[in-house]
Symmetry: C2
Subunit: 137 residues, 2 copies
DNA sequence: TTATTAATCTACTAAATCTATAGGGTTTAG
DNA sequence: CTAAACCCTATAGATTTAGTAGATTAATAA
């Protein structure tokens, strides 16, 4: 299951991508338009800012804005920051690899074999999809 | 993340698929070979039996065995029984569809658009992979 | 028939994670 | 100064996951 965090994060990013120019948009504006709990969204935007997707402006007239063009934001990086590893099991993860404690041999492991395929196909989709593709802009 | 339930379930199925003939295999045997908590595995095998993948025999010489040939067991059905929906969000699920409460229009929803692609590619892999493919038998 | 073996079933619990909220702190524009 | 708006930490409630306990039922062998 996709977490609400990721779901809301993607929605917020596309909302920002659809704005004219790079004028800061307030959390409350996004929260209202996309029906997302304000404080929860706040924490999500914070992590997006800390990971280089968003810039922010404090004080009156402040808000959040995209730091890059939508077509330069790959969904791989968005997913990794919000959702974590793209792989369904750590033993097939490229960026977060971990050996399974219970599994003696990855080469004969059925789960490993299957999940590598799933990882590769998901990865291809996330790589070839940018924020621009999702918001048609 | 793939649940341990699904991971263990797939391992158990491949273990059974690798056996000669359809001789019942005891839970303890699988539990030991695959390093899975016996009682947890017990509950997993029970759901696999209730969903038509396994047969069981009680008493001495009893155990679990596959009801179909490995090549006739698609991973789609295994995943749906153990892990649940293949889609990452209910609004793109074929078998477990649910409308998102917060989302006014699926057609303009970025998450929807992205997750349909992911669903389709995962589905294709699970459809084209059988238990036989995973255990090379 | 009796003992043994092994699956069946129900209920429960501990831990982890997710979702959301609370509440103060800090910065900026006017 | 003051109101607007982001910054940050902590925490609570709900849900899910992973595993445990223990009694029951069925099959087999002696």
């Amino acid at each position: 299951m996709l977490s609400k965090k990721t779901k809301y994060g993607i929605k917020a990013l596309t909302f920002l991508a659809r704005q004219e120019g790079n004028i800061p948009v307030q959390i409350a504006t996004i929260s209202n338009s996309e029906n997302i709990s304000l404080k929860f969204l706040e924490s999500i935007l914070l992590t997006l800012r800390k990971n280089g997707f968003l810039g922010s402006k404090k004080g009156k007239g402040g808000g959040y804005y995209l730091l890059k063009k939508p077509k330069d934001i790959q969904m791989t990086s968005v997913m990794r920051v919000l959702e974590g590893p793209i792989a369904m099991v750590p033993c097939v993860s490229l960026n977060f690899y971990e050996k399974c404690a219970d599994c003696p041999d990855e080469n004969t492991c059925a789960v490993h074999k299957l999940m590598i395929q799933v990882r590769d196909s998901s990865l291809e989709i996330f790589r070839n999809t940018t924020l621009a593709d999702l918001c048609d802009c």
